[in-house]
């Protein structure tokens, strides 16, 4: 099957385009009329670096590629708009594989209201996915960056953390699954294999007046450090308050690992960490509940200073290492 024929087959599977997109996939470029402000982010996933084809289905890989990219838009408080996907197809991935991969991408697009407006398909030595996503807001000041957290702000976290790291342990060491129920193990594995962008939560936090926000792709320690550095402030986090995903403690114990390490140094939970004025917390909780994605947990506060300090229940602190390696 040639490139143009494959692209035509992929285009047949596209959900209908959003109202902003006047000309979608198939011309030299897609044409859209954004209005207001746009937030744009690009995210690359490479086989052997970000996923392994022997551990995840092609549909899961497709879902994770678009979901992880959209998570950056969630962290800006943007509404999902358009996605442009480049796929590098290895020699052993046939037409059916491309279509399965694409169905995973299209499922996330449909679930999030994202228009797949363009892309490129090329040969490559290993499966490679690059998703560029464009989100929207009526005005630029509705979008929330990483800077802007102020001493006294309360730190909130959406959903639960540590699940993706525990899911990775379960995928690597299947014997660990015996320590928890099959349903709980399945949820943790999905947490690793998929990436659910908290788009509604991000918009709720932005509307509630969040000062700064970031998504946890590298982990609470690393991403919290980015937020702190961009804001010129420090983060003080209460370890006892961290919302660990069910089963994380059991899997960590069985693996001889500290559950707090999974929760703070493990990445890929794709939850949101936001700093907001304490008097906005109730409104943020209400709006987040209405979005229906996840509950908010207050986990600490912004302080004068720098870096991330995690206060342990028995006294003492942990300064999680920043995550800085090329992957």
């Amino acid at each position: 099957m040639g490139e143009f024929e494959l692209l035509a087959r992929l285009r047949e599977r596209l959900p209908p385009a959003g109202a902003r997109v006047l000309l979608g996939s198939g011309d030299d470029a897609a044409v859209s009329v954004p209005g207001g402000a746009t937030a744009t982010s690009v995210d690359a996933l490479v086989d052997g670096v970000h996923f392994r084809r022997d551990r995840a289905s092609l549909a899961e890989i497709g879902r994770k590629a678009l979901g992880a990219a959209l998570s950056d838009l969630a962290a800006m408080g943007a509404e999902a708009g358009e996605a442009y996907i480049a796929i590098g197809v290895p020699p052993d991935l046939g037409e059916d594989g491309c279509l399965e991969l694409f169905d995973g991408i299209a499922a996330v697009a449909a679930a999030t209201g994202t228009t797949l407006a363009g892309g490129d398909v090329t040969r490559a030595p290993v499966l490679t996915l690059v998703a560029t996503v464009v989100g929207h807001a009526d005005r630029p000041d509705e979008l929330v960056g990483r800077g802007g957290a102020e001493p006294g702000d309360v730190l909130v976290l959406s959903g639960e953390i540590g699940g993706a790291a525990a899911g990775l342990l379960l995928l690597e060491r299947t014997e660990l699954g015996a320590t928890i129920s099959p349903a709980a193990a399945g949820r943790l594995r999905r947490r690793q294999l998929e990436a659910t962008p908290r788009l509604g939560t991000g918009q709720a936090l932005a509307a509630a007046g969040a000062h700064a926000m970031i998504d946890l792709s590298d982990g609470l320690g690393g991403d919290g450090g980015h937020l702190a550095a961009a804001s010129g402030a420090g983060l003080r986090i209460d370890a006892a308050a961290l919302p660990l995903a069910p089963g994380v403690s059991e899997v960590a114990a069985a693996a001889g690992r500290d559950p707090l390490e999974l929760a703070t140094a493990g990445g890929e939970d794709y939850e949101l960490l936001a700093a907001l004025p304490a008097e906005r917390l109730a409104d943020a909780r209400r709006r987040t509940r209405e979005a229906g994605e996840a509950e908010l947990t207050a986990v600490g506060e912004v302080v004068a200073g720098a870096g991330v300090e995690i206060r342990l229940p028995g006294g003492g602190t942990l300064a999680p290492a920043g995550f800085d390696q090329l992957r």
Copy 2:
């Protein structure tokens, strides 16, 4: 060097952001205020598929990656706006190599007024570059798609063609260089190694009222076929009128190849093919001359029917095969 440190080094080399970009590289997403209409395209280049590191410098590869992507915006008649670049870095490409590659990208950004507004750097088995580019126009109807060519329209081509294919022959078979002057051979090789987007020419043709436009990345036969199919019309091209780049005939003869084949089936010239009403030709020539990039040549006309027919000087026709293989 870690990812964040490398990104910080790359950001130091960025030219200043354009007026539309409020928040550039370094947050979860870039924030811009587009206004009017946007044209967005994504283009992937993979080592061993689209280029070879033993034939091109890293700066040349960087220039080609962004230039080829911007060529799609030229083909829409859009003004260059922002670029988002994902780079897959292989194990043997060190920090200096990344910076050299990035300098090539930044040079094209500076020359075209493109803001490098975001990106992603990841490990990969071979060097991989994916450029997503966003162009702008005041109104969507100022952008020119592939459809819209009408029987009776004159077909024009910018610049010269066949040069990139001849340059590839010279890179593959260095002995062929003896048939032309070193300066001419150098120009042909650069034609293959670089990709100069005809952004000014595209805007000139759009302003002159072009009905349809495409850039020649796959070759006149293949890309002309796309324009014909999208327009529901046929293209009749006069082979004798085709503007061959200097040296193409000599290199083709020395290689035992037909120069017309290099000009119609060889890709990567990145010139523009446009269909416009005959009465707009003089205005299009004037505007294109003012853009200062390339001369226009009338090479044929749009006819009722389908496909691309190339009329040979001695009578008879050539129906170039459409280019359809995954690369």
